[in-house]
Symmetry: C2
Subunit: 294 residues, 2 copies
Amino acid sequence: MIRAAIYGFGNIGRFVLDTLLVDPDFTVVGIVSQSCSEAFVEGVPVVRSVDALGAVDVAIVCSCSRDVPAVVKKLLSKGISTVDSFDIHSQIAELRKTLDPVAKEAGAVSIISAGWDPGSDSVIRALLEAMAPKGITYTNFGPGMSMGHTVAAKAIPGVKDALSMTVPLGSSVHRRVVYVELESGATLEEVTAKLKADAYFAHDETHVIQVSDVAVLRDFGHGVDLTRKGVSGQTHNQNFRFTMSVHNPALTAQILVSSARAAMKQSPGCYTLIEVPIIDLLSGDRDEIIRRLV
Amino acid sequence: MIRAAIYGFGNIGRFVLDTLLVDPDFTVVGIVSQSCSEAFVEGVPVVRSVDALGAVDVAIVCSCSRDVPAVVKKLLSKGISTVDSFDIHSQIAELRKTLDPVAKEAGAVSIISAGWDPGSDSVIRALLEAMAPKGITYTNFGPGMSMGHTVAAKAIPGVKDALSMTVPLGSSVHRRVVYVELESGATLEEVTAKLKADAYFAHDETHVIQVSDVAVLRDFGHGVDLTRKGVSGQTHNQNFRFTMSVHNPALTAQILVSSARAAMKQSPGCYTLIEVPIIDLLSGDRDEIIRRLV
């Protein structure tokens, strides 16, 4: 059994626990959380530091993306392998380069950005490029609540609660509709200006709408519509499409757990999902998997 | 540059040549064919044996699936890496087990069943299972001409020419509609009986239709509609769908060529595509690929 710790216990962390409890390959040794007030969740001990746990093979890091680099570096340097769903696309290649020597030095494995985008969508984008090297891929998200954008919106001063909806406008163009509950004293104008300046929102059409209760809007359904039209060899008009309609944190959690399994099978180093053989994500006998899926 | 030979020069072989000629990473050292009567095609020499060529890094095997095992074994034992699109699903796991020690012994790499199904569809099926481990995947093919089934139909005694169409009936159930031109003296009844007994057709609803000219029916368009509905962790109703509409031999050829590139990056042994990191199929700088696609 793989001994896993859950690091961070927000939305994703709770769904990771759900997933680990039914996965045949894992045992959950503990939850590391600064904010969870319970001593045990589903029989799993909650601690403040990973040092308070026994041996951990892999930590599933469910912290906010902005905290991921420091947390992962710390865990790796203790020799603990990690997976995370770091989702700031422009910083992934750099993060991999930073973590790779740390992981190798410690004899550990880090699989980064292992959610659905970045993550499984990245695998599909890479696969489609191998199938039609010339052409254009469009990734259209939603409509659905973006977890990363919602966390970023909540971090804006003056925001009491927030929900960021991603609305696909086609050809990889998106509208962000951000519903905010304000702290008393905050103004919608100030919050809107700060939010639109944030890196998460700066490149998209963004609308900020003030509501009295964000909670009643919350639905974890999300999706993607990823298309590629391109050229295989010298033959044009090759058309590909991947769509999904999913519970977002449940899918992210499942991919993290599948990636934690894969982390046990890689040589020390830092990887993105497109660098990991897909079979390594799956439970069970290799020959049986090949017989069933190839 | 990777020195590639094309082994077999039917439909797939011709599109592999098209693809290699525009790929930045390959040089084509020769075509091995028993039937091609030209001395050169597009400036590439046609020879009867791979031994007549200089150094070959990888042979792209475009023989009929039934000939693939023997051809690949022979090439591997000469130390030449191989890729093929062997498509008899029930024999893939066994073929891999047979070829793996041969490849290791020779210090070569063999990537088998690297077309679109088996091949890229297998990668998608494996990825979807990592995203939702419980559930059902349906792979619906066509409508389109099946290359493997057409070759099998042509091999039936009494058949002068044939075309096998795959018609999807939903939930992975297919109808085969086989158009045949008969040799003089052959009867439709005899041909139909032999064809329905063939392993390629025995498990599907099969209709055999006699026509006077198969050539006018031929269109290489094909497609797939692959769906999975399943459970991520403990969360149900996760829905996924992959569809494509493609020129079939052009796509198969492109995946073979991308896989030949990947073969240069693996340790000696025999692999299916789900065992190969997807990034290895792509041309270019690893960091740049990660920046662009992850």
